[in-house]
């Protein structure tokens, strides 16, 4: 029998996440001969809409409809999956806030190896998978080997695989809801608290001067504000600046912050982690200033400048003011 690969599809407001398209490609790259099944969990009309949307991409879709999954708490979804997945399933889950919550425990309950945050599949030799990961916030990469004959749980980085826009599977939806059983767990969802709105809406900004940990000290933020003022830009930032409470959360760019789509993004002292870059959409012109020539941000920026921002930014401000 061919290998069974399952793509767990996350969704919101009745729409599948972008990873639905990406995982169709990722699963093929993992094993071109695999039997690939998408799995969606939730309830009601919203879930049906997602299942039908995903059936356009996968030959088979497994639907888990349960009133308890109106909000898909990871502990419950995990319990549902353990109830229906074959022991030797290879399961793909997005490496983001839901995947981080659900997937590590799933690997233990399925007694399968766990490969986290994969960015590429290199080869499959017999039952041994060779996958590519990154360590130290993308400063170095590694190949890892793992025997997946008995199954595996693999989290895949969102955006790592290019979606195939022309893919068409004309698949069918199989209802697995009856096989799931009781979903009572020791964790109960209460509510979602929506992020506070700040004084500027950086999602609407055309020019962003964005500052990261390289600024070193709260007092140094002044040079960033000065530059932004001269350029007619807004100030945004990476997460450590918000963690330190130097700027408000509404100015954070990234997967756990805002998604921005400016024309120009000037990244100052930001290393370029995928969680940060994941918040930048619409292919802006990215200029990175970083004192480390090997900073990962230089792989994704259009223009790179190796400089100390504490010296460089004031000089740039002066030049902009004079222009």
């Amino acid at each position: 029998m061919s290998r069974q690969v399952f793509a767990y599809i996350i969704h919101k407001d009745g729409k599948a996440d972008d990873t639905a398209m990406e995982f169709a490609v990722a699963a093929r790259k993992l094993d071109a001969n695999a039997e690939v099944t998408a799995v969606v969990a939730g309830t009601g009309a919203a879930l049906d809409a997602v299942a039908n949307e995903v059936a356009a991409l996968y030959k088979t879709v497994w639907k888990i409809d349960n009133a308890a999954l109106e909000y898909p708490v990871a502990d419950m979804v995990r319990k549902a999956l353990v109830g229906i997945l074959p022991k030797d399933a290879v399961v793909l889950v997005p490496h983001e806030h839901f995947g981080l919550d659900m997937a590590p425990g799933l690997s233990i309950q399925l007694d399968s190896p766990y490969i986290a945050d994969v960015v590429d599949f290199e080869s499959l030799d017999g039952g041994t998978l060779n996958a590519v990961r990154q360590e130290y916030s993308g400063m170095v990469s590694t190949h890892v080997a793992c025997d997946i004959e008995g199954g595996a749980v693999i989290t895949v980085r969102p955006g790592a695989f290019q979606a195939d826009e022309n893919a068409a599977a004309g698949g069918t939806v199989a209802d697995k809801s009856g096989d799931v059983g009781d979903l009572t767990v020791g964790r109960r969802y209460l509510e979602t608290v929506v992020a506070e709105v700040g004084d500027v809406d950086i999602t609407k900004s055309e020019i962003l001067v964005s500052v990261g940990r390289g600024i070193e000290d709260e007092d140094n933020l002044e040079i960033v504000h000065d530059l932004a003022k001269a350029m007619g830009a807004d100030v945004s930032c990476s997460r450590p600046i918000v963690d330190a409470k130097w700027l408000e959360k509404s100015r954070q760019v990234g997967t756990s912050g805002q998604t921005v789509s400016p024309k120009v993004y000037l990244a100052c002292g930001i290393s370029g982690s995928f969680q940060h870059m994941g918040g930048i959409k619409g292919a802006p012109f990215i200029v990175a200033v970083n004192k480390n020539a090997k900073a990962p941000i230089f792989q994704v920026a259009d223009i790179g400048i190796v400089a100390d921002i504490l010296e460089f930014l004031p000089e740039l401000t002066e030049a902009v003011e004079e222009a």
Binding site: V140, H143, V144, I286
Partner: protein, 261 residues
């Protein structure tokens, strides 16, 4: 509340440039500065604050070599009451799952109401907390940035999800939580604090003490090499004197609409 925090000693990425060694078998480890994993400091701070509010104790635990003792001492200087070092030659190549198995074996020897880990460590896997919870068969929540104690049966936690929103949950105790940065402001540890705990005895447990055989800690995921990712196109690097760079940059910014006047 009896709280356990799992901590890891990692190369400090803000102090070091991480580079692949010449044979591609490891990162260059000479002259690396190590510290406590950034996320773990937030976890320890949170544990200390909870203990100070509701009573109990904070224990810090790490799987590592002799040098890992220093991170336990640092966290004890922050205010943790006890430290436990889990160390054995057999643990040397442990992957995330093996680390979780070792921690589980040690946790079974004690009694904890709340177990905290960091959201992720140096290799960015974010796996140990979730695995540990499943092994202990207790509830788990990741990326936690709010903890409110209710009583000795349950707590309320907020998890960070997309867009800066928060998912609020009620959880039964005992449970495992992985802690996200920003949940608090970890306190500063001075030399004097470290000195105060310099001679505190830190118990060590090995594979034998924990009843673990070689099989239980054998890695299932093996790292084959380290390499520098292909830069692809990469950025166009502006070079020359600062004046030249700024002149070029100004031209580009003007062309791309990067300067509003």
């Amino acid at each position: 509340m009896e709280i356990l925090v799992c901590v890891k000693r990692v190369p400090d990425t803000s102090e070091n440039e991480i580079q692949v060694n010449s044979s591609g078998t490891d990162i260059e480890r000479d002259d690396l500065v190590y510290s406590v994993n950034e996320w773990d400091n937030y976890a320890v701070e949170e544990a200390i604050q909870i203990r100070d509010r509701v009573g109990g104790s904070v224990t810090v635990m790490t799987v590592g070599d002799d040098e890992s003792e220093e991170v336990l001492r640092r966290e004890m200087a922050m205010g943790a009451d006890n430290g436990i070092l889990l160390s054995d030659d057999a643990f040397e190549n442990a992957d995330g799952r093996a680390v979780a198995s070792i921690l589980k074996a040690a946790i079974d020897k004690g009694k904890y109401d709340l177990i905290l880990t960091g959201a992720q460590a140096d290799d960015g896997a974010g796996q140990v907390g979730g695995m540990l919870a499943a092994m202990l068969d207790v509830p788990y929540a990741s990326l936690v940035n709010i903890i409110e104690t209710i009583d000795d049966q349950k707590i309320k936690v907020g998890r960070e999800i997309a867009g800066g929103n928060q998912e609020m949950n009620e959880m039964n105790l005992p449970c495992v939580l992985s802690i996200q940065t920003g949940i608090n402001e970890p306190r500063y540890v001075g030399i004097r604090g470290i000195r105060k705990v310099a001679s505190v005895e830190i118990p060590t447990m090995g594979a034998g003490d924990l009843g673990l055989d070689a099989d239980a800690v054998a890695p299932k995921v093996k790292r084959l090499d380290y390499f520098v990712p292909d830069m692809g196109e990469g950025a166009e690097m502006l070079e020359g004197s600062t004046e030249e760079i700024i002149e070029k940059l100004m031209e580009l910014l003007k062309a791309k609409g990067g300067i509003k006047s």
